[in-house]
Symmetry: C2
Subunit: 345 residues, 2 copies
């Protein structure tokens, strides 16, 4: 690959005043649970970090090892374990409740603290004079799930985020088995919330979610755990992300037929249980807006879905601070096919 | 241009765990005030919206028409007129003071209101129970400058943001003359703050800043106005952006030899008065992080600058929420040449 060319494809364009202002390139793949590629474009083979898109896969051991039942975790908690949430009050409350069931509080979390990603939640928190804690970290539900798993299986949670902790070894093994891609020291990086993230091909990520969507290719225990997690995500889409977020809006309208999960640096997955498909997308520049746009297009096309929420994300109006439309963010025609709406909405 | 190829070049890469995680492509050009191209890469000819990078050029009439002197605007105010600020208290105070000198308050502003871009400023404002106003809009200094210009030249400021208002016609004429590119209805879009933005080639944007940097090719009045604006930006770099922002950090250390200005959607300019050069960059995907990285590289190389602040932006460490370094954001070697530091710092 030279500097001036690459094998990626146009995912989405930003327009203003009728001109294309910005362009996002990347790769996408749609596979079934047998591993058959239904659609692909761009570089789908070079390993990349799936980041938070694997959270639902990382939550499988919480159920298969019995910890979810031991602590009687409700669907909201199971959904939050799969979430990148916005730090809104309901997210924080559920994370705190998960920890309380184990006898711990947020001091055990190793994800670090940051202010809520939701601007209104941050302003409301600031207005109280309180500080942000690790509970507000967008990954606090996943980490609370780790604590439930550790405590529920008799492990000391100390240093649970480190690659040599039994908990992270369970995660590596689970991801390797579900995606079919190796997870070792050789392909390991550190995620934003301190746990390992392993670089895998986009095809393997999509395969993992085709299996998660259907249970095909999973052990009976994992297939049941995946079914319960899908039900939790369906019943509590707010927990997966939060107000005005892509995952929450799409799953509110389309789950259980469509499940989605964003990840940092422009990675996105979707699972389509009724179609038996998994979708994985990487916007090469890390732009989440384009990954969302591309996901909406591929869900409409391969999920055979016609839905206002998908039309909105395929052609999203861009407005200035006064609310006037100045352009749009739209999916590449090559992705959307005949599903691209005629106008932004 | 097919979907899988484009004429842009690699500007910057994000790494994690030793792998490239994300890549940004785009274009860059370095020109002198005679219009001679010193360096170029990528598509530098297709017209694009320069967005907020032209603010210092838009401020020229404020001085040439006498309004800055009529209202005795201090350097902080002249700098704020060229700014995309973070809505911090000093920014808001200077914008309010500019308006007060004309007898108006923020009710006259047509830029719309939004919460401060600086997270600490937003939290502090929220803690007081107050709401954000148009003064917190990142463009409030530019708009306050427009009000000073309108009032100082006997114009009614009502609807000043509309293309047919004499003020915006002055802006179109000024930009056309300084950049050498046409500014008409045919290449006009609407910016985020409601005023027009005109699509021009990246080369024209760079030429405008080579002229702004040197006075060459400008009328005597405009050359003097540019000199005063450069001095204002040099004396008050905080006003141009704010805490921890690229423009402020770079100009704090390197002005008056180096002046920079970011724009939305990954546009960036730099002016190098001693070298007689203007630089313009477009990160095609709109990523400001890559535009900053590329700007640092080109400033180091064509400004012959060796500075920690440039080294930092050429190879920026990326840290997780716990403060551990997990990767870096680094300039493409083709841009930085032998200026690329050996390690991130």
């Amino acid at each position: 690959m030279t500097e001036n060319t690459h094998s990626d494809t146009l995912l989405a364009e930003v327009t203003r005043g009728g001109r294309v202002e910005s362009r996002h390139y990347g790769a996408a793949v749609v596979v079934d649970a047998s591993g058959k590629t239904v659609f692909s474009t761009g570089d789908i083979t070079t390993p990349l970090y799936p980041r938070s898109t694997v959270k639902a896969l990382l939550a499988l051991p919480l159920l298969t090892e019995g910890a979810a039942d031991k602590y009687a975790l409700p669907p909201e908690a199971l959904a939050l374990a799969c979430a990148s949430h916005q730090g809104e009050p309901d997210h924080v409350a559920v994370a705190a409740d998960m920890l309380a069931r184990t006898g711990w509080d947020y001091g055990v979390l190793e994800c670090g603290a940051h202010w809520p990603l939701d601007a209104r939640a941050t302003r409301a928190l600031a207005a109280t004079g309180e500080q942000a804690s690790a509970l507000h970290n967008c990954c606090s539900g996943k980490h609370a799930g780790f604590i439930c798993l550790a405590c529920g299986t008799g492990q000391d949670p100390a240093n649970y985020s480190q690659p040599d902790h039994p908990l992270m070894q369970t995660m590596a093994r689970t991801l390797a088995e579900v995606t079919g891609a190796p997870h070792s020291d050789a392909n390991r990086g550190i995620d934003g919330c301190a746990i390992p993230t392993w670089a895998i091909p986009l095809t393997a990520l999509a395969l993992g979610y085709a299996r998660f969507a259907t249970g095909t290719g999973l052990s009976a225990e994992r297939a049941l755990a995946a079914q319960r997690l899908r039900a939790a995500m369906t019943s509590a889409p707010f927990m997966i992300a939060g107000t005005d977020q892509f995952d929450t809006l799409v799953m509110h309208d389309l789950a259980p037929r469509v499940l989605t999960k964003m990840g940092a640096e422009g990675v996105m997955i979707a699972a389509l249980p009724e179609k038996g498909l998994g979708i994985a997308i990487k916007c090469r520049d890390g732009g989440i807006r384009a990954a969302e746009t591309a996901a909406a297009a591929l869900i409409a096309r391969f999920g055979d879905e016609e839905a206002p929420v998908l039309n909105h994300f395929m052609r999203r109006p861009l407005k200035n601070w006064n609310g006037a439309q100045v352009g749009e963010l739209r999916a590449a025609a090559a992705l959307a096919g005949d599903r691209l709406p005629d106008t932004a909405s």
